[in-house]
């Protein structure tokens, strides 16, 4: 009965969102809802190494529907920017303010509720000289199809080409951080963990894989013992392959428990599949950090509401 109602909920949400957003033929990277930093700190994200992705005005992620969720928004895009031209997007090397996103997440496990707040921003986003030149060419030559005959088919192709260009910076470095609390009741809510990390993405020219790196420091607010409450330094590498409707990545992350002076590792295969515009199914399988109960099997649904302009 519980399973049936869960499936019904998923179906109804899918139908509702499908009705709101007409499908468009764009790459998964454009629609992929990045995991909110708050989720990452909870160790509840399917992927430990996140691909730096341009944040949307507003995104909502649900984790197993009944257990928790996250919301992320980008304050910069809550107002208009009249002087920000199309070609400027490709020229900006350090888009800190426009990619600065705030997130909040909650996750419930048995009787314990965890809540967290987080942020992320791109410190560096580097496009190739060829991409920058192409953006200026598009800006200068769009008039015939945008003005004279309004060639919608040609404009659709152009939009896809722009999306593909945007999704392939040569180098992307993202800084993220989060602060987490947990409680069994509202009165007992207390801070338990904080952390900051860098996600680095490198896309070599004409190479089919994205190479991603991670460096993450996390610690208990008042570390008392090793294990979940300890001080960790995580570092790792991920290789990702992307197709139109799915991407798949293989990641290895080593966790150094600084107090215990010991190391753990995580190996995971992570897949994202775009069901329809704005709905991504994400799953990961592998071995988690802990020595026992370490089978990693996470499944979730991410909803991107980014296409709507957010207003306060």
């Amino acid at each position: 009965m519980k399973k049936a109602s869960l499936l019904l909920s998923v179906f109804l949400i899918c139908v509702a969102l499908h009705a709101q957003t007409p499908p468009t033929d764009v790459k998964i990277n454009d629609l992929n809802v990045p995991t909110a930093p708050a989720f990452v700190l909870m160790d509840q994200s399917p992927a430990s190494i996140e691909k730096p992705t341009n944040p949307k005005a507003l995104t909502v992620s649900l984790f197993n529907l009944l257990q928790g969720g996250a919301v992320e928004f980008t304050p910069y895009w809550f107002k208009n920017h009249p002087a920000y031209k199309f070609s400027d997007y490709f020229k900006k090397v350090s888009p800190i303010s426009e990619t600065f996103a705030l997130s909040a997440a909650s996750f419930k496990k048995d009787t314990i509720s965890m809540v967290a707040g987080g942020f992320r921003t791109q410190l560096l986003r580097l496009y190739s000289a060829k991409a920058q030149k192409e953006s200026r060419r598009i800006e200068d030559s769009v008039a015939p199809i945008l003005l004279a005959d309004l060639n919608l088919k040609a404009l659709d192709s152009l939009k896809l080409a722009i999306t593909a260009m945007k999704s392939k910076p040569v180098l992307n470095i993202e800084l993220a951080g989060a602060y987490m609390g947990q409680a069994t009741s509202f009165k007992s809510l207390a801070a338990v963990k904080t952390g900051a990390w860098l996600n680095i993405r490198w896309t070599p020219y004409k190479f089919p894989l994205d190479i991603m790196g991670l460096a993450r420091y996390s610690r208990a607010v008042a570390p008392a013992k090793t294990g979940q409450d300890s001080v960790f330094f995580d570092y790792g590498l991920s290789l990702a392959y992307q197709e139109k409707n799915f991407d798949i990545s293989f990641e290895f992350v080593n966790r150094r428990d600084i107090h215990a002076k010991s190391d753990y590792h995580r190996l995971a295969l992570v897949a994202n599949y775009q069901v329809t515009d704005g709905i991504i199914i994400v799953a990961s399988a592998g071995k988690d950090f802990s020595a026992v109960n370490n089978v990693l099997a996470v499944f979730g649904v991410k909803f991107g509401l980014s296409k709507e302009k957010a207003t306060l």
């Binding site: 957003t21 007409p22 468009t24 454009d30 341009n54 944040p55 949307k56 005005a57 980008t74 910069y76 895009w77 208009n80 920017h81 009249p82 002087a83 920000y84 031209k85 199309f86 400027d88 997007y89 426009e98 598009i138 800006e139 200068d140 030559s141 769009v142 008039a143 945008l146 003005l147 004279a148 309004l150 919608l152 404009l155 659709d156 152009l158 939009k159 722009i162 999306t163 945007k166 980014s306 296409k307 709507e308 302009k309 957010a310």
Partner: protein
């Protein structure tokens, strides 16, 4: 891909001794272009990117209406907001800005503005 249209009218006063110059900027990292012509005259003064377009002297503009069509395609994944700014040199008001929202990603917004001198 839908096209959403909006028509506006703005009263302008050329107030300097210099010729009136027009610059148009499409913001929010969206992709746009403009078509500029005087009402009742089929000659297209500019098409596409409009930079330093000389519209003429204060006397020559008196009583004329400048028609500007700016089409903007939403190519910014972060927002559906579109914004266009018209900068006039030697004119009041010197800056005219319009903003709006397309209904769906990838849609086009068409601003049809009449600048009445």
């Amino acid at each position: 891909m839908n096209v959403k249209k909006r028509t506006e009218s703005v009263n302008m006063v050329a107030d300097g001794t210099d010729n009136v110059i027009l610059n148009i900027t499409v913001g929010n990292a969206q992709l746009g272009g403009s078509l500029v012509q005087f009402e009742g005259n089929p000659t297209i003064l500019a098409k596409g990117k409009v930079e330093n377009l000389n519209l003429g002297t204060k006397a020559s503009l008196q009583g004329k209406t400048l028609l500007v069509t700016t089409n903007i395609m939403d190519v910014n994944d972060a927002t559906n907001g579109v914004v266009v700014t018209y900068f006039f040199h030697a004119c009041q008001p010197p800056v005219v800005t319009f903003n709006d929202i397309v209904d769906n990603p990838g849609d086009i917004f068409s601003f049809n503005i009449q600048f009445k001198f």
